[in-house]
Structures are given as C-alpha cells and as structure tokens.
C-alpha cells in the first residue's frame, strides 16, 4: 500500500499537488480554506523532497514518450524557491476572500513548478500555457477597466509565446525526432529554425528588450496580492528555460546587458511604484540572462542563485508596496508621503528588501549578483561587466532609494494616516526579510544547492570595499542632487515605452488602413451606382415612354418598309446574277 502510494506520487509531477489542491478550494469556506491555501504548498514541497534525482512520469502519447518529471540540481533550485515563493505569497494573501484569485494563484504556482521539472518540450509547453491562462485571473481580479484591458494584452502575448514555443517544438521534432528538453543548440533561422523560435518564445516570457512591455503593463494592474505571485513565477520560469536550453548562447550577453540598463531610465521617471518595481524586475532579469549567456559554471551558479535570492527580495518589495496599496488605495509616489509613521514595520521590511536588491554586503543580493559580475570579468565580457556595474548603481537608485523613500518618506507629509499592514502580510514580509538577511550573512546553504560546485568567496575585503564604494558614493550623489533640487520630481504621468507601438501606433495604422479600404469600397460602390444609373438612363432614353424603341408604328408603314426591303433584295440578286 505504502509502495503503491509512493509510486503514485512519483508519477505526479512536482507542483501538481498545488493544481489539484486548487480544485478543492471552492469546496472549503472560512478558516479551513485559508489553512488549506497554506498547507498545500507545504505538502507539495514535501512531495518534491520525497523524490530522488532522476526522471519520472513517462507517458506514451501517440509514438512519443513524454517525461513529465526530471529532477536534477538545476531544476531543484527553481523547485525549492518556487515552493518558498508559493508559501510566502499564500501567507501574504491569507486575508483575501476572493476564490477566483485563490484558485488561479495555486494553479499558477503549480504549473510554474511543474514547468521547471518538465523533462520534455511538450510538457513544458502545457505548463507554459497553463501559467499564462491561470495568472491572467490575478490581473483581472482587480476588476477595473484598465486591469481588464491590460489582462487581455498580457494574455495575447503570453499565449502568443506559447504558440511560438509549440511551433518551434514541432519543427525541432520534425528535424531531430527528439522532444527532450535539453540544450537546444545554436540559433539560426535557416539551419536551426525550431530552437530559434523556442528561444524567441522564452525571450517573450523573459521580457527581452522590445518584448518586455507586457511586464510593466500588466503587473501593476494586478491585485495587491496578485502581483506578489506574478513577480515570482512567470519570468523566472523563462530564466530557467533559458538556462536549460540555451546556456552559453553568446547573444544572451548583450541582450541581458541591455535588459539591465534600459529599464533604469524608465524606473527613474515612473510615478507608479509597482511599475517602478516592474522595471526593476526587468533589470534584475538582465543579470541572470547575462549569466546564462556567459555559460560558465560560475556564471550559471550566479544566475541560479540570483534567481533564488531575487524572487525573495523582489516579492518582499512588491509585498511592501502591496501593503500600501491595500491600506491607502494607491502606490503613486505623488500621492504618498511620511507613511512610515503609520506603517513602521512595513517600512522596515521594505528597507531590508531595498538593501538586498541593491546588493549591500550582508544582504542576499551581494552574495549572488557578485558571482555573475565575477564570471563576466573572468570571461572577459568587458562591456557587459561595466554595464552591469552601471546597472548596479541604477538598482540602488530605483529600488534601493526610490521605493522606500517615495513609498514611506517623501518630501512632504501626505497627511495619510492608516493602520499598519494586516498580520499575515507582516508575517510574510518578516519571513522574506529574514531570508534576505540569512542568505546574505550565511550563503553556504544556498551555494550547496546550486547546479555546480561553488568556488567563490563573496566576503573578500576587495569585494566588500568596492561594492560599498559603488553604493555609498551613488547614495552620496542622491543626497547631493536632492540638496541641489536636481532629482527628477515625481509627476502624475504616463511614460511611453515600446508598447506604444501596439497600443497606439498599430491601432492608428489599422484605423488608417481601414479608412482607406472603406474609402475604396465606397468609391467602388458609388462608381457602380453611377454606371447602373447611367445604363438605366440610356435604357430609359431608348426604351422609355418617349424612346425610339417604344414608339408605335402603323401597319401600312411597316408593310411599306418590308416591300422596300424585298425590292432591294430582288435588285441585289438581279444585279449579282
């Protein structure tokens, strides 16, 4: 019996308990439901821990064997952190009564976890689409016109990414006969189209430059708790997929470097603090993408550990902004000021998150990000190295200073006085903050679970001093600029990004094309009508009441005409013969 249960559990992919657990949610009410939402991630984590390294859940689909579960060191990093994120997010959302969000969140987290353990590309595709379809409900749950529209755009792009993935998978299968989700080879639209399409699909979900705007568009529109879930899974599943399929693909280095740099300039002028965090998320993904592009053991360790630490501190920052949204109803910097008086504990946790993402020594960002930087330097990726340092100063600006400063302090007192965040939110933030510090102070347990043996010492005098110099002098620049009133002021505005192409330009072009087509159609119809009218007029002229063809002729006249014709005919014959 016990063996049978164990075998059955082996056939269930990690994360599936979360998806199955979501189906139970509508049957529960009140405290049992809240408890269930917290217990399911723990059960799912226990299920994962019960599975040894290897491949499980082989299914024969037509002539193809699918491998639903593949457990190795790389997938386990994501498996662990996704479970931690699922639990912390569920705790943070424990006060929410909305069944739609609860079901969607569990399915979303479960499918992302299952995706990280997918052993073949078809299983990955199914999880890929399930994350898209389930997560959109966390956006729609805001139940506003803007969230509905943002959700639709999000869904189109996410499902589009899935369609591209499936196309690539089928082309790849037709060429190689393999569906295994392993390293997928070099990129080429001519010689290797399948993996290239898969790469673009991953890039859409990973928010590559020009494919990124769904992130800044949709995440700030989700509910206060929904954004915390969203920040953890979608993009990090894409990072995992890139690490699995395209490690060492050189093009990822400039792509990642661009991702770290350009969002900085949007974050600096953005007023919605959750959108600032969305740009910041994009920038953080860039560090991981660079690490994957470099592809060395240290770089991949850097990317994996950065993903791990990032999920926690980014969730913590989104949690603190979500707490403001929950209490105040807005996270626009222009509306806030001196909230630290009302929400001191949330302020404290937010500052921990800010210190972590800025990579101050003794916080989690420092012991993870520095691995990628060192790998870039050792791999002689000179430009990328300096861009990453530049981006590190940018992180300090938007996430290290702007988020806590404008969220909880600001230049003036807004007069807003609210209650501190609910206990469950504080507890989730407290655990996250503890993990940020714990990883920073004692990184060894994290290093132990990384894909490759770690030969890296973060706490050397040189590392600590140079990082502190970078950050403290950037902080000094903030102070000097603030004293000189040269900081960019917060303004109520919309900043046009690449999405203007499909939100304004494309509709305008389509409207233009539509009006041209309508004009041509009207022209054709009008010309046709004119021609028909002319024809009717001519017919009327000839066959109308006064037309030639309508005239009546006397019988004697007709006989005379016939006689003349006969005479002409006779004469013609006479003359001819």
């Amino acid at each position: 019996m016990a063996t049978g249960t164990a075998t059955m559990l082996e056939h269930l992919p990690p994360g599936s308990l979360l998806v199955l657990g979501a189906l139970v949610v509508p049957l529960l009410r009140g405290v049992p439901r809240q408890a269930w939402l917290l217990v399911v991630p723990i059960l799912s984590f226990a299920h994962l821990l019960s599975l040894a390294h290897g491949s499980y859940g082989h299914i024969l689909l037509f002539d193809v064997t699918l491998t639903m579960t593949r457990i190795d060191k790389l997938s386990l990093v994501w498996g662990y952190i996704f479970h931690i994120a699922a639990f912390l997010s569920a705790l943070y959302a424990a006060h929410v009564k909305d069944g739609m969000q609860q079901v969607a969140a569990l399915i979303y987290a479960g499918s992302a976890i299952a995706g990280a353990f997918a052993g073949d590309l078809i299983t990955l595709f199914v999880c890929w689409e399930l994350t898209a379809v389930s997560s959109v409900f966390l956006i729609w749950a805001s139940r506003t016109e803007s969230s509905y529209r943002a959700g639709m755009r999000y869904l189109v792009i996410q499902v589009g990414s899935g369609v591209l993935l499936l196309s690539g998978v089928l082309i790849h299968y037709a060429k190689t006969g393999s569906l295994a989700f392993e390293h997928l080879g070099p990129l080429s639209f001519i010689d290797n189209l399948g993996p290239t399409l898969i790469f673009i699909a991953f890039g859409m979900k990973c928010a590559f430059p020009f494919l990124h705007n769904w992130l800044q568009d949709a995440y700030p529109e989700a509910t206060a708790t929904g954004t915390v879930f969203l920040s953890a899974f979608t993009t990090k599943l894409a990072v995992y997929a890139l690490a699995r399929g395209f490690a060492g693909t050189e093009i990822l280095v400039p792509i990642g470097a661009a991702m770290t740099a350009f969002p900085v300039f949007y974050a600096v002028i953005e007023n919605d603090l959750r959108r600032v965090l969305a740009y910041s998320l994009n920038n953080q993904l860039g560090f991981m993408v660079v690490g994957i592009g470099i592809g060395s053991e240290m770089a991949l360790n850097g990317a994996a550990s950065h993903a791990f630490a990032h999920i926690i501190y980014k969730a913590l920052l989104f949690m603190s902004m979500g707490a403001i949204l929950h209490r105040v109803g807005t996270v626009k910097a222009t509306e806030l000021g001196m909230l630290y008086r009302s929400m001191p504990i949330t302020t404290f946790f937010c500052i921990i998150g800010a210190l972590s993402i800025s990579a101050f020594p003794l916080f989690s960002g420092f012991v993870t990000k520095s691995m990628t930087l060192t790998a870039a330097a050792e791999g002689h990726y000179d430009i990328a190295f300096f861009v990453l340092i530049f981006a590190s100063a940018g992180v300090l600006h938007h996430s290290g200073i702007k988020i806590p400063f404008y969220g909880f302090f600001g230049h003036h007192d807004s007069g807003i006085r609210v209650k501190e965040a609910p206990w469950n939110m504080l507890l989730a933030m407290g655990i996250s903050a503890f993990l940020c510090v714990a990883i920073g102070v004692y990184p060894q347990p994290l290093y132990d679970i990384l894909p490759y043996p770690v030969d890296f010492e973060p706490y050397t005098a040189s590392h600590v001093v140079t990082q502190l110099q970078l950050l403290v002098f950037a902080l000094l620049a903030f102070v000097v600029l603030a004293l000189k009133h040269l900081e960019t002021p917060e303004l109520r505005c919309t900043n046009v990004d690449f999405d203007v192409l499909y939100r304004r330009l494309l509709p305008a072009v389509l409207r233009g094309v539509g009006s041209v087509v309508a004009a041509i159609r009207d022209g054709v119809i009008d010309t046709g009508k004119s021609l028909v009218g002319l024809f009717i007029a001519v017919i009327h002229l000839t066959h109308g009441p006064s037309g030639v063809a309508a005239r009546t002729v006397l019988t004697s006249t007709a006989v005379a005409i016939v006689i003349v014709l006969l005479f002409v005919h006779l004469l013609f014959n006479y003359l001819t013969f």
Binding site: F265, M338, S342, T460, Q469, L476
Partner: protein, 98 residues
C-alpha cells in the same frame, strides 16, 4: 485617513537637524570608504583584487558610483521630456482601484 494621530512634535527623522546630521554621517562614511583605495595605491595593508586596470585607479568604484547615479538622473530628465505623456494617455482609466 484623518490626521488624528499626528504627533505634536516633529519626529526625529523629519527634523532638518537630523537630516543634516545624517548627511554629514554619509560624508564621513564616504571619506572612510575612500581610504582603502589610498592604502591600495600606497601598498599598505589592502590589496584591491581587480580584473581590469581601470579598477585599480584611485577611487574608481567611488567615482563610477557617483557619476553613474548622476548620469541616470540626468538622462532621466532628458528621457522624461521625450516619453512623458498625460496620465490617461492610453485612455484606460485609473489603475489604482485594485
């Protein structure tokens, strides 16, 4: 939302004197952090582990941090003049009703 629990005295952190003190503290910390680079140049007790020669310049990371931050803010001013539009540019309504 009312101002009922507004403190009668200005909290410590909001006082101008406190802000001045914190600023001075930052200046002192910055100066202290510059010191290791001087020691490294003089080869006294601290060795800066570098991959690029530029990193070994006196105060490279301090300078880089200060300039990078200032550059980001400066470009932010320019970029804002290019991309900023009205709050309801896309006509989607307010997004803060969550």
């Amino acid at each position: 939302m009312a101002n009922q629990d507004t403190p009668t005295t200005t909290p410590w952190i909001e006082r101008a004197s406190s802000v001045r003190l914190l600023c001075r503290l930052l200046f002192v910390i910055s100066a202290c952090l510059f010191l290791p680079d001087v020691l490294a140049v003089l080869h006294i007790g601290y060795h800066k582990h570098v991959h690029y020669s530029a990193e070994s310049w006196l105060g490279f990371y301090a300078f880089f941090g200060f300039v990078a931050y200032s550059l980001i803010v400066g470009v932010g001013w320019v970029w804002r003049s290019v991309v900023m539009r009205g709050e309801d540019f896309y006509g989607d309504g307010d997004s803060d009703d969550a």
